[in-house]
Amino acid sequence: MVGIHLKTLIFERSELDHLVETLKRRDYKVIGPLLRGGAIVYDEITNTSSLPIGWTDERSNGKYRLKNRDDAVVFDWTVGPQSWKRFLFPPIQKIFATHKRPKGIDLPNTKKQPVQETVPAKYAFLGVRPCDLHAIAVQDKVFLGGPYRDPVYERKRSGNFIIAVNCRQAGGTCFCASMGTGPKATSGFDIALTEVLEGKRHYFIVEVGTELGGEVLKSLKCLKATDENLAALKEICEKTTQQMGRSLDTTNLKSILYQNSEHPRWESTASRCLTCANCTMVCPTCFCATIEDVTDLSGKQAERMRKWDSCFTLDFSYIHGGSVRASTKARYRQWVTHKLASWVDQFGTLGCVGCGRCITWCPVGIDITEEVRTIRENQS
């Protein structure tokens, strides 16, 4: 990336509050993690007291549970059921409203002067995991890299300030190391934090990714990182990598999946799959959406809403006469093949960043890494 000078600093835990304040002063809407309904979710925060201090999460196939750790570590959880995509690509978004008039209808483009939309506050994201950073980069390609750019995404994405947090421990379903997306953030952030708790000392190692990041840090009390600090950073990230229990071998994966479109495994996994669409809803890269038309009771106003959709629904592929992907097998195959094969053809990158959410939130515990391994090892 151009204009990036990587340098490493440290600041004490107490400075985290100043970071949030500084960002607010700079007119950012700060979004960070908080506890809600038994999960760690992301929402607007005003200070660090609402962060999930001392909490960690336990994740396995189909299971997610929070646990209190009796210490004051802020970022010792991995990923929750939500991702940052809900802020950049909202689950529901109004496209436009139109009105019935005595003479026809008026559409937003009726007037020569198109509607001017107000510029919303810029987002600052606090606590973005390396896998999720990559997920944002993947969605950038989807929404901004094609012949048509998504105006909603573009607006919400512009001017983001991103504070990444390197992972001190791997979640039970994580496999970012094998996907080359973590557990350490290497790019795509303004600043990246690594939390260190050494006896009584609680501080953050800070890597600066952009000039803006460096500028924001000027309002904080920072020190230059020492060799010991850098060694601690390295050690933490290595430990996390070693801890990671799952992996997905991506070698030659695209052609393996294309060539095995009739593998019996699709059918057998389909017999477990409930087509609930959870995996696509929690996935930070899935971008599919449908449109819903709503009219008020009088019929005088009609709205078009864009809503998240999933290739697991029957309607998704409906054309007059029936659905193209009628069987569960076909829909399940579409999901895996899209994430790990056709995505590469479409966007030049994999559609999976190894965050493991789809494994955690699958009610029957289907594991994408296991599926790929089975097909790879028993190619037809």
Binding site: V2, L107, P108, P147, D150, S158, G188, A302, D345
Partner: protein, 289 residues
């Protein structure tokens, strides 16, 4: 895998949202057959003309009901009128069928890849249409007829259900009367009194007058029909690379952002709907892809 900074540095254009339709007013409605109608539309507001290429489609929005992809069926030489021919099959198309002169539709487009007519210069051109598939081919026919001297033989093979379902009857008659166009129509079944062909459109291919080694074929119709047609054209000697088909998939955005139109690794809305047959041949025989 960081995001290309160029992607993010481009300026946000708040004024332009590709999901917003433009208002168009219906100037004329023509009922082609019992279930198929053609509407002529004129832009309202800021737009004056609507330029497009043969084979492209628009998203048509019916107030409060929904939005669907429909190919443009008019003459590209006349960008002041926008023409769509639609078969009423379901919610949105039936609502459209009820619309009258003066009513307003929302339109956005044109989208998708066109029929690559320019690649047919100097060769024979064969159009194979099935059912409503004649509508998306008509702009290409207009264009070829308008520059007739650029092509060798020009043949239209058109198959539909019954004689009552034949679209653009008058136009077909006019074209048939020309000495430089070969028009063949066949129906799946007919009552006596029909003097044309009965049988599937693929039956017309072996005897149609064109030189298979120097032919560009444009095929549009139900997927099964296109598959059999391409096979038959290939059997006759037409190179798979010279056969083009127009695909149909569910579409919500038409601009590559909603994921609905995925067909294997391609998006029908932006990589298609017109594809080179040789490029999608393998996917066409995969089930539920």
């Amino acid at each position: 895998m960081a995001t290309d900074p160029e992607l993010l540095s481009l300026k946000v254009d708040y004024k332009w949202n590709p999901m917003l339709p433009w208002p168009f007013q219906i100037r004329r409605v023509k009922h082609e057959t019992e279930d198929t109608f053609t509407i002529e539309l004129q832009p309202l507001g800021a737009l004056e003309e609507f330029a497009y290429q043969p084979g492209q489609f628009n998203m048509l929005y019916v107030y409060g009901v929904g939005e669907i992809p429909i190919s443009i069926s008019g003459d590209p030489a006349n960008p002041r009128v926008l023409v769509h021919t639609t078969r009423a099959v379901g919610t949105v198309t039936k609502a459209m069928d009820k619309m009258k002169r003066g009513d307003i539709l929302g339109i956005r487009g044109p989208y998708g890849t066109p029929w690559p007519i320019d690649q047919a210069n100097g060769s024979d051109v064969v159009f194979v249409a099935g059912g409503i598939g004649l509508a998306p081919l008509r702009p290409a026919l207009y264009e070829v007829v308008a520059h007739r001297e650029l092509y060798g033989k020009v043949v239209l093979l058109y198959g539909t259900r019954t004689p009552l379902d034949v679209l653009f009857r008058q136009e077909l008659e006019n074209w048939r009367a020309r000495f430089d166009l070969e028009i063949y129509v066949t129906v799946d079944r007919a009552m006596t009194g029909w003097r044309g062909n009965v049988g599937v459109v693929t039956n017309l291919i072996p005897r149609a007058p064109f030189d298979p080694r120097n032919t560009m074929a444009f095929v549009c119709g139900p997927e099964i029909m296109m598959r059999f047609t391409a096979m038959e054209l290939h059997k006759r000697g037409v190179d798979n690379e010279h056969i083009f088909v127009s695909m149909e998939r569910n579409m919500k955005c038409a601009i590559g952002l909603c994921g609905h139109c995925q067909f294997g690794s391609v998006f029908v809305c932006k990589d298609g709907p017109v594809f080179r047959y040789s490029e999608i041949k393998e996917m066409l025989v995969k089930w539920e892809i």
